[in-house]
């Protein structure tokens, strides 16, 4: 009896469909992506149940790292340029146009005014190394204190853009007195409302907030 011949099938798989899927996903991620802004320090924020989403514009970000160093930044390159002009005049820093551009394009500032010129003159990768050992923006409990340079930054930034929303992004391990100094500085300018950046965590069951959320 002759054996039934099985037709030999090719082991080739048509990759076209898979290729289509891959590039579809790729397109999605490329369009949906927004690169993480350059952060001077790694900060692990504590969690809260708050679901308010941080807006994209008009943000003043005060980053506090575990050691309590403060980094200051605002969004919008044009506003940054105006800000550095203002601060330059107020504090007689003698910055060149190039250094001002470096500020406008850069990210956070974590150096005292005394070191600002040197910091801005450095190349971007040198600035990163600088950030690692930077002392942070000096701050004090009173806005009137000469050492309170954060107060100068906050005041100038708010002059440029009164709509600025102030956000504090502090590491969970930062000690309270460091955060307290920032709060005191803001209070000195009669800013009593600000935002704390947190991670999202689930609402614990059996609490008032849980009942509110699951109210039919």
């Amino acid at each position: 009896m002759p054996k039934a011949k099985l037709p030999r099938k090719s082991t080739h798989i048509d990759m076209t469909a898979m290729c289509d899927v891959a590039f579809l996903l790729l397109t999605f991620f490329m369009l949906a992506t927004k690169f993480k802004p350059d952060e001077p320090v790694v900060v692990k924020t504590p969690s809260s149940i708050s679901e308010i989403i941080l807006p994209d514009v008009d943000i003043m970000l005060l980053t506090v790292d575990p050691k309590g160093r403060i980094f200051f930044s605002i969004d919008n390159k044009l506003k940054r340029k105006e800000l550095i002009d203002e601060v330059n005049t107020n504090r007689n820093l003698g910055l060149t146009d190039q250094e001002k551009t470096a500020f406008a394009l850069g990210s956070s500032i974590g150096v005292p005014f005394g070191q600002l010129k040197q910091y801005l003159a450095a190349a971007p990768d040198e600035q990163k190394a600088f950030d690692a050992s930077a002392p942070g923006v000096p701050v004090d409990t009173s806005v009137l204190s000469v050492n309170n340079e954060l107060a100068e930054w906050v005041k100038s930034a708010r002059l440029q853009n009164p709509k600025l929303r102030i956000c504090i992004k502090a590491d969970g391990d930062a000690s309270y007195p460091n955060v307290q100094k920032i709060i005191k500085t803001l209070e000195g300018y009669k800013i009593f409302k600000f935002n704390l950046i947190t991670n999202l965590k689930a609402v614990p069951e059996g609490t008032a907030a849980y009942a509110e959320k699951h109210k039919a």
Partner: protein
């Protein structure tokens, strides 16, 4: 799809003398392209920030040096709960605002644990205030008030955690206040008494 039928089946038949041209497949191996595609996807997935950061809004009590003593809001002792944040995420709390100079408040220790922690203390306090309202000892305007006093040894995460508890337990009136020397003394005494 990506292949074309180049075999001459069903077409006109060539004569026996006609030489067949070598058939070249137009099929392209797409595997490397798929590899590349997925590599890029992986890259974008890792660098992307799909989840936007969340924020917690906080209102500090209005402060003004010019504010006169009698214009300030006074809180009743019965609705107040004072919470002192201390080192190692420890919480000391006592009922009332602790303004009686003759009687030191009775400090209790608790932690941010989900069970039998500060949450239960707050819930208990809230229930107590509600009961007092029902009995007519307090007016409807009175609300449970939590005074948060972080000690210098506490961390920022303690502050956020306690503010979060306020949201979780629906405490509408709370304030962050500077800790006084007397209260720091209380903490030290309690620490010494419990041998820590």
């Amino acid at each position: 799809m990506a292949e074309m039928d180049t075999s001459s089946s069903g077409g006109h038949k060539k004569g026996p003398g006609v030489k067949k041209g070598k058939k070249l497949s137009t099929r392209i191996d797409l595997t490397p392209m798929v590899d590349l595609g997925f590599l890029l996807i992986t890259f974008f997935m890792f660098t992307t920030t799909l989840a936007k950061p969340k924020t917690m809004e906080i209102n500090m009590p209005y402060k003004d040096e010019k504010l006169k003593e009698e214009e300030k809001n006074k809180i009743k002792n019965s609705v107040a709960l004072t919470v002192l944040l201390s080192k190692n995420h420890r919480i000391y709390y006592y009922e009332g605002i602790g303004d009686d100079p003759n009687k030191a408040p009775d400090l209790q220790i608790t932690y941010f644990t989900p069970a039998k922690g500060i949450r239960d203390v707050i819930i208990k306090k809230k229930k107590m205030v509600d009961d007092m309202k029902r009995l007519g000892q307090l007016t409807a305007k009175d609300e449970t008030t939590v005074l948060i006093k972080p000690d210098t040894t506490s961390t920022y995460s303690d502050l956020v955690n306690i503010l979060d508890e306020m949201n979780i337990n629906d405490i509408r009136v709370y304030a962050i206040i500077d800790i006084s020397d007397i209260e720091q003394g209380f903490i030290k005494e309690t620490e010494a008494a419990s041998g820590q």
